[in-house]
């Protein structure tokens, strides 16, 4: 590891089982877990028998105390351990965008983020976008403009669209295309997804 990489952690480091030391944080004791936190699934039924760590994940405004394997990605923990299966995994290698969530207000591929890096970060998934039955305007636009065909990329498209609109509420068509360009849709429904995001942006003008 050269000096530039000090303090950073690669997935490979974790695969070698050195992860815990590399990020220099102690395993969080149960005493630090907020009282309103949700106990995630038991470790026996969840990701991995390798080196493990208990951490506190903040997802959709809720705190989850969860024990994860060091090499588990955020996408895996969201889906397998927290039961938030609206986030999909299409490629598991940072190419398709089906796993896009918002981390600290930015759209990111959750398959390319280790769960252990997420301590203290605000994570928003598709499940956290609506307020109960009240959909986010972008979700409503996705229904109205037929955004989902098979629907497998839809969560990611919406999260990228949402992140774009937070940064640039009046985004134009070219900006919308670029903002969503990291999200593949093999049904080829790009026209519809762009139209949905643009409809929300146009209302903000």
């Amino acid at each position: 590891m050269n000096d530039d990489n000090k303090g950073k952690v690669s997935r490979r480091t974790f695969l070698k089982g050195l992860g815990g030391g590399a990020i220099g944080t102690a395993v969080i004791s149960t005493g630090l877990v907020k009282s309103d936190s949700v106990e995630a699934y038991s470790p026996e039924s969840s990701g991995g028998v390798g080196t493990r760590k208990t951490l506190n994940l903040k997802v959709n405004g809720k705190s989850y105390k969860v024990e994860v394997e060091h090499r588990s990605t955020l996408a895996e923990v969201l889906r397998d351990q927290l039961g938030l299966t609206g986030t999909k995994i299409g490629c598991d290698r940072g190419e398709c965008g089906a796993c896009t969530v918002m981390i600290g207000g930015r759209n990111m591929y959750s398959c390319s983020q280790l769960a252990v890096w997420m301590e203290g970060k605000e994570i928003l998934t598709i499940e956290g976008l609506a307020k109960g039955d009240k959909l986010d305007p972008l979700q409503e636009a996705f229904i109205e403009y037929d955004g989902p065909q098979c629907g497998f990329c839809t969560s990611g498209q919406i999260m990228s669209g949402k992140a774009l609109l937070l940064k640039n509420p009046q985004a134009n068509e070219a900006q919308v295309r670029r903002g969503l360009s990291g999200n593949l849709c093999r049904c080829g429904n790009y026209n519809r997804e762009v139209a949905a995001v643009l409809a929300v942006a146009n209302k903000a003008r």
Binding site: T85, C150, G151
Partner: protein, 738 residues
């Protein structure tokens, strides 16, 4: 048959999908989202060799890894996979392995990382065998033999070889021709690349097998599983409600369903088997690669007199599908003969990808016809118009055919006459061009079943065995039911995708769901209406045949003020159940087809060879459109897939090792938001006499002409004909130099 209602209340509108809420909130449950108590995770080990005999397989180290619960391979899980290969027997694990990516073993463990670790501990000793990757090489007498009977894939019925078809008198056709042209076009294997990786969850309860499949057809998947596991249909349950795309490659049951079932059996626990994205590219299948040699005879005015096609289709190691080529379907060809050789090679299997036998052959034939037009000084629009198909194979009438109107409308919309120029006449660094091609897909009525429960409050529960793979089938069934019953759409609930609960459906393949199952829904609604009128008649003091039902109200036809809400009419009936199994047929001399004419404009950068599709107009004759919103989306999607097939997509297999070198999204180069233009969709709507409410097929047709359309636009821009897909920048630059 459809009721002859002129004014529809829900059919033909733009209706958002009935499951939109589930889809935009992440609540729609896909196969990979299923979590069962005690469920294990499974991964598959694949062959690194294109052709090899497995000498030994040692799983002891893998089995000792904590968390590993079951390991299966060709010795302890010899399960036939009948639909995986139709000309020589295929098992879920085979010895010898016949392509890089052929499954060798599968592991189930308490979590997926342990399953992945365990794969690395399996020791397999291979004896490498000679292999062949190229279809023409494979036909040579000294080529390594892949199937027992040789590399020409000879089977029965639709899997015979060669595939042959002819009509008219070919010799006379060429004798009548003023000019005869010959040329060869090449297309490549490319992967369906649907967003949802293949996944299956299987469990056994007291000898009954339940499979949460990622399938396009729960009914045919159940049939496959029951046959290959030797179980009665009643002991197999297949569930698939939402499916993340397949485009043909997830029809029926697949080896991963069987592997999950065997691992579940061996471990005694439910198993979720997930493919990686690489598994999906190298382990399953994409569209068959072809070499197509055409000989075409034409009169001075451009009219075709004869077509001869000799082709080779690379089917990979197994014959999962036909290997046919059908792009000539859209032209009037008085004398015709085709001979197609489906060939085995040591490459990944080729099978169905949206309109399986069309886009690669439409590309070749429409390119060649466009070229002939150029050689003879005929405007391509005239060439396509005068040679468009009018009778099926020169004899049978179509149930409806508005191809001419498609051509006229599209040419008008894109302003063909203003924009078309002599090929290569575009000046400047960026060359602009315009092109067109014809397409469509066969359509016919067939077997369907449906039940409609009328609840005592007047709400309706439609039971149909469809899965929603993105086509909007669930919404379509709701719309058809609402229209046929005469109740508001919001009063209709659809239960789908579970063989223990829902009736037979053909499966979301070959664009058949609306025609087959939709027709059954109409008949089930008519059955329900009869029962509703029987219970309402005494309440309204009239005879049942005097009643009608519309907008959720039962009323006397002669005096609509005498009425009852449906809820009141059936409130004391417990539950009425309308049901139907339908199997309509065309009249003997009628054939069905949806038609399309596509038009595109492209900009070709003559320095980089980069092609951008700048405008696209797709005009379709699909009969009555049941729901415009998703129907338009289907067309847009088919065209987008065609753009990828035309310009970038190819699974590249290393000639020295037989290893696919780009089995991932980044290198497979599927289109993104940035490459896709706004696709203008026009339906020329004329009801077909056979389809439900006059509808024909929508899903398959749009990809069929897209590749040829773009290829012809590139020719118009550059004056250079690229005779091999995909039309990548290097090919364009090379063509410019010669």
């Amino acid at each position: 048959m459809a009721q002859a209602q002129k004014e529809y209340s829900v059919v033909g509108k733009r209706i958002p999908r009935v499951d939109g809420f589930e889809r935009v909130t992440g609540q729609a449950q896909y196969t990979g989202d299923v979590q069962l108590p005690g469920m294990l995770y499974a991964r598959v080990l694949r062959s690194p060799h294109p052709h090899a005999k497995i000498i030994s397989i040692d799983t002891s180290k893998a089995e000792k890894l904590p968390g590993v619960k079951a390991v299966i391979h060709h010795e302890n899980a010899k399960v036939p996979w009948a639909s995986g290969g139709h000309t020589h027997q295929r098992f879920i694990f085979n010895n010898p392995v016949r392509f890089v990516g052929d499954a060798v073993a599968a592991v189930a463990a308490t979590d997926r990382h342990t399953a992945e670790d365990a794969l690395k501990l399996i020791e397999v000793k291979y004896e490498k065998l000679p292999y062949v990757l190229d279809a023409n090489e494979a036909l040579k007498p000294d080529a390594p033999k892949i199937a027992p009977q040789g590399n020409l894939s000879v089977g029965k019925g639709s899997f015979s070889a060669p595939i042959q078809e002819s009509w008219g008198d070919l010799d006379k056709g060429f004798k009548d021709a003023d000019r005869i042209f010959e040329d060869t076009y090449i297309t490549k294997h490319h992967n369906n690349a649907q967003m949802e990786r293949r996944v299956s969850v299987a469990k056994w309860d007291a000898g009954k097998l339940t499979v949460y499949a990622s399938t396009q057809g729960i009914s045919n998947a159940r049939t496959d599983i029951a046959r290959d596991f030797n179980l009665p249909l009643s002991r197999v349950r297949v569930i698939c409600k939402y499916m993340g795309g397949g485009f043909g490659n997830k029809n029926q049951a697949q080896d991963y369903d069987y592997m999950a079932a065997m691992l579940a059996k061996q471990s005694g626990q439910p198993v979720k088997l997930e493919f990686t994205r690489e598994d999906d590219f190298i382990g399953m299948h994409g569209r068959w690669a072809t070499e197509q040699k055409y000989k075409i005879g034409v009169k001075k005015d451009g009219m075709i007199t004869a077509v001869q096609l000799d082709a080779v289709a690379n089917m990979g190691a197994y014959r999962k599908q036909s290997g046919n080529l059908s792009g000539t379907d859209f032209y009037s060809i008085p004398n015709f003969k085709k001979i197609i050789l489906p060939v085995h090679t040591n490459t990944v299997v080729a099978a169905n990808f949206r309109a399986p036998s069309y886009p690669q052959s439409v590309y070749a034939f429409a390119s060649f016809l466009d070229n002939i037009a150029h050689e003879m000084g005929i405007n391509p629009l005239d060439m396509f118009m005068k040679n468009r198909v009018q009778k099926y194979k020169g004899k049978s009438a179509f149930s409806s055919n508005y191809l001419e109107e498609c051509i006229v409308e599209g040419a008008k919309r894109i302003a063909w006459n203003d924009k078309w120029h002599k090929p290569g006449a575009s000046t400047g660094v960026i060359k602009h061009g315009i092109g067109m091609a014809l397409g469509g897909y066969q359509y016919g009525p067939g077997l369907g079943a449906a039940a409609i429960r009328i609840n005592p409050d007047g709400t309706a529960h439609v039971l149909v065995g469809v899965t929603d793979i993105g086509t909007g089938a669930k919404s379509t069934m709701a719309i058809i039911a609402a229209e046929a019953l005469g109740v508001p759409l919001k009063q209709v609930e659809v239960t789908h995708g579970d063989t223990d609960v829902t009736p037979y459906s053909v499966g979301e393949s070959s664009s058949r769901t609306t025609g087959y199952t939709g027709t059954a829904v109409i008949a089930a609604a008519e059955d329900a209406r009869r029962q509703i009128f029987n219970v309402a008649a005494p309440q309204l003091k009239v005879k049942a045949e005097e009643l009608d039902l519309r907008d959720g109200e039962v009323f006397v036809k002669a005096d609509p003020t005498q009425k009852l809400s449906l809820g009141r009419a059936v409130s004391r009936s417990g539950e009425l159940i309308g049901r139907a199994t339908t199997n309509p047929r065309f009249k003997d001399d009628v054939q069905g087809k949806s038609f399309a004419a596509h038009f595109a404009e492209v900009a070709v950068d003559s320095v980089t060879g980069h092609v951008k599709v700048t405008r696209y107009v797709a005009v379709h004759d699909s009969g009555t459109i049941i729901n415009r919103l998703p129907a338009e989306s289907q067309v847009k999607g088919g065209v987008t897939q065609g753009i990828g097939m035309a310009l970038t997509e190819e699974l590249i297999i290393d000639k020295l090792t037989g290893i696919p070198i780009n089995p991932n999204y980044r290198d497979a180069k599927v289109p993104t938001h940035l490459e896709t233009p706004e696709i203008e969709v026009i339906f020329v709507e004329h009801p077909d006499p056979y389809g439900p409410f006059g509808g024909k097929v929508v899903g398959e047709p749009p990809i069929t002409p897209a590749v040829g359309t773009i290829a012809n636009a590139i020719f118009n821009a550059t004056g250079k004909r690229i005779k091999e897909l995909p039309i990548t920048p290097d090919k364009i630059l090379q063509a410019r130099l010669v």
